[in-house]
């Protein structure tokens, strides 16, 4: 099996896609793009003809790095049921790495798992014991954007061994970008809250190209 194009630059994002998590998803996308990698996620495909799990597996195959957020372990407001998409995609990513034949590109996979607290996962997904889980929650139990950016930047810098700018610098740039985003969207009559993954990523890429430092 040949290595997919730009395999070493692709980062798979496995996180909740609900409204409450959107600010953190946006921060992850910005941090990945600002570190000169390419964010990939299941939302980039909008073809109803494809089977969703096959689409996800194809994207996972094309990504060397995986960022998994398993913090959404509570029940859904409407259905009162837990959502299992994140643990499922994490399992596929870990299995792709484990079952890959020697010298296959999937043998180089690197992943980072984030949760609110460092050892909370042991209560609901104890089979992950032994993995280094990064915490991104504050003392009040809320996710912090600055810690999300720090985790993403540190993971990419350590696992890729590339020289990257500091997390504080990236967080500062993210704030500047968020200030400019409404004005950018206004020119296309886009609503900031309704931006799709690809529209948001286009805005991020264009802003970084125009504001390199």
């Amino acid at each position: 099996m040949n290595e997919p194009v730009a395999y070493n630059d692709n980062v798979f994002i496995n996180c909740p896609f609900d409204k409450a998590y959107k600010p953190f998803l946006w921060a992850i996308i910005f941090a990945i793009q600002d570190c000169d990698f390419t964010p990939r996620c299941a939302q980039e495909e909008d073809n109803a003809g494809d089977i969703r799990i096959q689409k996800i597996m194809k994207i996972i195959d094309e990504c060397r790095y995986g960022i998994h957020d398993i913090s959404k372990a509570d029940l859904d407001e409407h259905s009162q049921l837990a959502r299992f998409n994140m643990p499922l995609e994490l399992g596929i990513f870990l299995a792709a790495h484990y079952f890959a034949p020697p010298k296959n590109h999937n043998k180089n996979k690197r992943s980072m798992i984030m949760d609110l607290e460092p050892f909370r996962y042991q209560k609901f997904i104890s089979d992950l014991s032994g993995q280094d889980i990064k915490a991104h929650g504050s003392e009040t139990g809320q996710i912090q954007v600055s810690r999300v950016i720090q985790n993403v930047r540190d993971f990419l810098a350590t696992s890729s061994r590339r020289k990257l700018s500091g997390a504080a610098y990236i967080a500062g740039r993210y704030e500047l970008f968020l200030e400019a985003l409404p004005a950018i969207c206004e020119q296309f009559t886009w609503e900031v809250a309704d931006l799709t993954f690809l529209d948001y990523l286009t805005c991020v890429t264009a802003w970084i190209q125009e504001n390199r430092v």
Partner: protein
């Protein structure tokens, strides 16, 4: 007679080769001059004005533009300046260019 002249073209070719080889190696060993190699003093003379750094103080005349540019950036900015900006495979170049133009318009305001 014929046998005596046989070596002459070969000697000429060798001489030409040596000449061009020496010329090429001399040229290649000389560092290429770019705009950033210009000294601040030269630019000040050309423009007839004084040049000040980001801290508001005058820049030394013997520094090159490249050195000044490097000194003005922080370590994070130096790393950021070197990166290529990767584009997602699903983003169309035409769409990206439109948004880039919008970013330019916003930053000009």
């Amino acid at each position: 007679m014929v046998g005596g002249n046989r070596g002459a073209p070969a000697v000429g070719t060798l001489a030409l080769f040596c000449y061009f080889y020496c010329k090429a190696t001399t040229l290649m060993s000389t560092p290429r001059k770019t705009r950033s190699d210009k000294k601040i003093g030269t630019i000040e003379k050309e423009l007839g004005i004084s040049i000040y750094g980001p801290n508001g103080r005058k820049i030394r005349k013997d520094k090159t533009v490249g050195q000044v540019r490097k000194d003005a950036l922080t370590d994070d900015q130096k790393i950021a300046a070197k990166r290529q900006v990767k584009v997602h495979p699903k983003i169309k170049t035409a769409d990206l260019n439109k948004v880039r133009q919008a970013v330019k318009n916003v930053s000009q305001k």
